[in-house]
Symmetry: C2
Subunit: 408 residues, 2 copies
Amino acid sequence: MLLVQKYGGTSVGSLERIRAVARRVSEAARSGAKVAVVVSAMSGETDRLLRLAMEISERPDEREMDLLLSSGERVSAALTALALRQMGVTARSFTGRQCGIITDGAHTRARIETISAGRLMRALDRGEVAVIAGFQGISSSGDGDVTTLGRGGSDLTAVALAAALKADLCEIYTDVEGVYTADPGIVPEARKLDRISYEEMLELASLGAKVLQTRSVEFAKKYGVPLVVRSSFNDMPGTYITKEDEEMEKVLVSGVTCDKNQSKLTLLGAPDKPGIASRLFSEIAGAGLVVDMIVQNISADGKSADISFTVPRTDSRRAVEITGRLARDLGARGVDVKEEISKVSIVGVGMRTHSGVASKMFDALASHNINILMISTSEIKVSCVIDSKYAELAVRVLHEAFGLEKAA
Amino acid sequence: MLLVQKYGGTSVGSLERIRAVARRVSEAARSGAKVAVVVSAMSGETDRLLRLAMEISERPDEREMDLLLSSGERVSAALTALALRQMGVTARSFTGRQCGIITDGAHTRARIETISAGRLMRALDRGEVAVIAGFQGISSSGDGDVTTLGRGGSDLTAVALAAALKADLCEIYTDVEGVYTADPGIVPEARKLDRISYEEMLELASLGAKVLQTRSVEFAKKYGVPLVVRSSFNDMPGTYITKEDEEMEKVLVSGVTCDKNQSKLTLLGAPDKPGIASRLFSEIAGAGLVVDMIVQNISADGKSADISFTVPRTDSRRAVEITGRLARDLGARGVDVKEEISKVSIVGVGMRTHSGVASKMFDALASHNINILMISTSEIKVSCVIDSKYAELAVRVLHEAFGLEKAA
């Protein structure tokens, strides 16, 4: 049995919490498992370092940011190894370099290229517990600079090492008990899911569920790494994330999510001729902005079009600039921006084999007078953009309409 | 002109201080010098990390301590590089590994084996300012673990890099203005020295002057690295530490020091036969304790001996245990320990060529009724152990007796 366990910032947020982590790790080690432990920086530490950098520099150099930020995980790894040793467990820390995580040179958002986990494997084979500083690697270029993997990077470290070590299970320990049918803060009846497919988890993650980052789930799916998300504060079994099976397909909808961090822009009255949308979205992509949903309406006279799309709220100012410039170039009527929107979504692999799910969603929203501004669908999800003031209501309405409070 | 500048913990103790460091560095760089900057951890940071480790572990593993403690200097290096870039200076951080500092595997007190400064030199040749995380290297064993160089390790990093880069000058920036004839807190008339020889600095450092660690001065002496110690808080010229010259020999005494961190032990009434002292001090050395001064007295009847010696205060409990055990084995009368002692010393290369310095010291102390408990001398220093309550008085008396308040 080879386990990779990952503990997030709140799970190692104090010495008391680090001791609790060490107790959990030592139990797994004493039961005979080989254990590799990936730790994040203590909660607050990354923010503290970021604040220092932002105070000293308007546009901090990314290579220096990586050296700065990677130190938080190194501290956690050393302290966790010390706590384990204090309990009599032979533990040893590993930096990103020492566990062979080689990335490209894109500082602050590096992508893993290869993992040479031989040294790590040898330590595990000797019966040592390996404690790994998450979130970091070294660049494959000659310099071997420290790189970091971006938001959710420690999850990615854990999943990637689990793949490289051919682990039997990758346990992601966090401050929630697993993946829920909806945010329990919005829907008190929300139920923890026992199992969910990679695909559903991917949709949930990209739709605003914060429990796991999309990249880690993609990686787990690609390499078939069995994942479980569970709480480091108790012994509840958590949510398993695995390959889809027949049981899962019986469930129409697994979860409802809500993303409040989007803005909706509309290019109003653009001439209706080919190439307008192409030009708009290639300029926006060129500025590094990611567009989520797109809807185009032709006006009644067929001569002009309104093109609406959503971008992350933080990018809306830049998107308005680009779209405004284009509107002037094209002689369009102008740009409308709406910040107070939310995207509510339902996700479930059962949609593939069942019809009528989308219309049931629209009915449920309509019956509460919630107007739908935009719609987008994929094989296993339906998303609706609505006015933000109805967001929580919409989540509760959909949770009830699909009976998510009851186990399937 | 190639400069190595080293800034201690108080000099980089806040973002405001780091900006001040960056301004000083950028002035040097703009004047055309190649500049390598070595930084310590921000003041308080190393203590914070140490406290965390001591709280979580009774006897922290030294390899883990090195990973933990080395993170403080990495943070300073990244922030200093960011501050320089904010000022428009092309700066780049270097870890111990990246500037090629290879050490032995003695974690927490590693010794530098070699330095491969090629990468550093290339950066300087390109006109970049190199900002180096002090205090750390990597072990030469296969694992390439992070090691730290022990107390004063950042000074050593600076001096060793200055030697490897064949720097024209190594500037040690700290929170004092240089090396003084005595501690100005004890002797208000104490005078800053303009120049001092490596040998004198070595004696002063080992006798309690805290401005530089012995190891760094030894290294500078061995490789002939010109050093200057100066304040990062003003533009005073500081104290140059260089090879001895004729001018220096004219000065009888350069400084007076006081070390209050010693204890005096006496093995009482040991049989006066060969091998006793040898056995005592080999057992003490075997326990890793460093003995400073030794005095042996034969009793009036010539049948027994008292052996007195001093050890650092922190080691006195262990030294008493060892000496007590030996006393029982030998049938000696017992062990006496005196904590309230101080060692006052005068240092000067002029002693080599001038006689009467020691007797002048004894006279000065006697004229103030200060009793001398032990004496030791070297070519360029005389030390006396006295009762601690007279320590400050003794320093003032000696400072005046040798006229140190006046420039030579």
